[in-house]
Symmetry: C2
Subunit: 403 residues, 2 copies
């Protein structure tokens, strides 16, 4: 049963001649979702929220028409990319229009160190284009195959690469945003430099991002490795030591406490039961330095893929960040997570938490750079209850999710 | 008058047929020097130290012959590159042989992210070659136009680029060293990975470095800027804020307290009297973010050169690190300097020192990355006396020289 709507959807449709419109119920239900299903709290709070209509513009002109019509008819707009976020940002809480930006896939230009793209461009597509001239996305979420750049800017924050470049919100990681305002006579606003922060990570609620200008990083050939440890804290200390080795170029350091690795079906042969797993992406020119460091912490390399092979097949990046949760939930949908930010003495705090929660919580650390220093974001996982252990101090972040 | 030598130089010469030998006194005096003349202490301690003979091999075979002969005749060997160091490492304290490595200029190969070169290759030559395929030296001293890679490894420690990659001694910044031993039957030893630390920064006293394998960094187009501030601590705080901005790609952050800038004759028009000067090398893709940050600290850009123009003519890098001292001493040879390493709360300590020493000392900060964090190495300059304010704590360095 389609619930009655309070909005003048027919009037809206008449204003949008030539623009792709979706009204089929099952599609609308799908376009009203994201991955907030990871959260037992959000699932109940956002249950049954479905848009009345979805609109899929192919260029800025069409976005302007949609914005004008929605303002005129006072219909709420929920902007979405691929809907890979975990926090309900794509759920139309008050119904109305779902503005699906995924058809705007034009890569305007890619030059030395900078790219300009439409909001619906997939991160993997931009990355591929950039790599063809020796550059790459500085950071991507684990959902880079499907996620859009507009969605990442509006709803993401960092990811694979953040150990080198920090988070998307850090000064310099976003150069410009083109935004359409939600007014009867919508304006196109170009926000540049520090002004991008007015719209960055605002979930699309204060402007429709139509184009993004983003700095690129130098493309290194990234080898992928799995290193296992008997003890969790040895893996964590190894991660911190590697993160702090300024001469070793790295893109990803992920620490998974036992038994998280057992959820990674395709990789189980490389992660013996009872072992802590560390996933790495390291520049090939830095690989030679790794064994010495691993030895210091009694670790063992169980998997290694050269950069040229890493382009194909299974990629470790897709087991990191919130894909970790995705893989775990495939096996056990009762699992959830909580992100935490921890103080600068994070290894001690993490060790304390690790022992304090024991079996109830599975630790997952993501190392990032923040305010000029490296530290661990950390994810605690539990199927039982939520803990809010968030605290932030100078330069060190930890992020915690709970299964 | 040539002083009598205790060594069998004639015997040595007979063993080295076909190898370039220098015996002319004025050349020997020159080849027995480096820039330890910056130090009033070393000048008196090393006065009159001259080698008996200099030998300039062109390849490893010749180095092996020299090493064998020197071992056989028990003649001390002082290895040198261009002699740009400041600490007397190239002075033959006990006479004997000066082993001049500058003729070994073969670039063995440069590939994606790694280069292998003979020890006498000039840093600028390697950098130029690397940049032709999109890479560059990760770090260079301010003497990069003349300094050799072997000399940099043996006697240097970091420089322009260390804000991004840390110091040469940090794991990963040096991949391999080929070393010839000083024995009657000399061996050629290839040190790889962590083993390079056995010879790295050992001034050539435990092996003759013949080849160096070094990782490269991605070559960004570097713009050069001078920013001036009314107050020194505003410049220092700006430097720390920029150093901590992980999304802004930078290669050099140098802070010069007034009146250091007045010693930079060619740049004086950009540094008004009484102003504190900050010299920057910033990736062009990060330039747009700079004005906002500068404004926060009441700074003003007085000089800006695009990357393509920066390749030509005057280069700011040649006013930083110990070239600062060189420029100051051109005006006043009584000036000397002292390097210090400071604790993590370095801005407070620096502020304290700045006020404590007043006019007697001119502060010069160099920001670098160390153990995963950024901070300032700092140089205090005085013409009066030396201060030893060296202390080191987690992740933050300061270096101080005194004029």
């Amino acid at each position: 049963m389609t619930p009655a709507t309070q909005f003048n959807i027919d009037g809206l449709i008449n204003s949008l001649a030539g623009i792709e419109i979706i009204q089929e119920r099952s599609q609308l239900v799908k376009l009203s979702q994201d991955y907030h299903s990871f959260s037992p709290i959000l699932v109940s709070q956002l249950a049954g929220k479905v848009g009345d209509i979805a609109v899929r513009p192919i260029n800025q002109t069409e976005v302007l028409k949609v914005a004008a019509a929605c303002a005129r008819y006072k219909i709420p707009v929920t902007v979405r990319g691929a809907g890979t976020g975990n926090y309900g940002q794509c759920v139309p809480r008050h119904g109305g229009v779902i503005l699906d930006m995924t058809a705007m896939q034009n890569i305007c230009w890619v030059k030395l160190g900078v790219a300009r793209v439409e909001a619906g461009v997939k991160l993997a597509a931009l990355d591929k284009k950039a790599r063809s001239i020796g550059w790459e996305m500085r950071m991507t979420p684990s959902t880079y195959r499907t996620a859009t750049i507009g969605g990442f800017v509006a709803g993401g924050s960092g990811g694979i690469g953040s150990i080198q470049y920090g988070l998307m919100g850090d000064r310099g990681n976003l150069l410009a945003l083109q935004v359409v305002t939600l007014e009867e006579e919508p304006r196109v606003i170009e926000l540049r430099g520090d002004d991008v922060q007015k719209v960055n990570h605002a979930w699309g609620i204060n402007g429709i991002i139509t184009e993004v200008e983003i700095p690129l990083g130098a493309a290194y050939p990234w080898a992928e490795l799995i290193v296992t440890f008997d003890k969790f804290m040895m893996g964590a200390r190894f991660g911190q030591a590697l993160a702090s080795s300024d001469g070793i170029i790295k893109k990803e350091i992920s620490i998974f406490a036992d038994p998280i690795g057992q959820y990674f079906t395709a990789l189980r042969e490389y992660i013996p039961e009872g072992k802590q797993a560390v996933f790495l992406m390291i520049a090939e020119s830095s690989l030679e330095l790794l064994p010495g460091l691993i030895k210091q912490f009694d670790g063992e390399i169980t998997y290694q893929k050269a950069a040229q092979d890493a382009e194909k097949g299974l990629r470790l990046a897709e087991y990191t960040w919130n894909h970790t949760t995705l893989h775990a939930r495939t096996a056990d949908s009762s699992i959830t997570y909580l992100q935490s930010i921890f103080p600068a003495d994070n290894l001690q705090t993490i060790e304390h938490m690790y022992h304090h929660f024991g079996d109830e919580v599975m630790m997952h650390l993501e190392f990032i750079r923040a305010r000029g220093a490296v530290g661990a974001l950390y994810n605690r996982r539990t199927s039982q209850r939520d803990y809010a252990l968030s605290r932030r101090t100078w330069g060190i972040y930890c992020k915690s999710s709970q299964l």
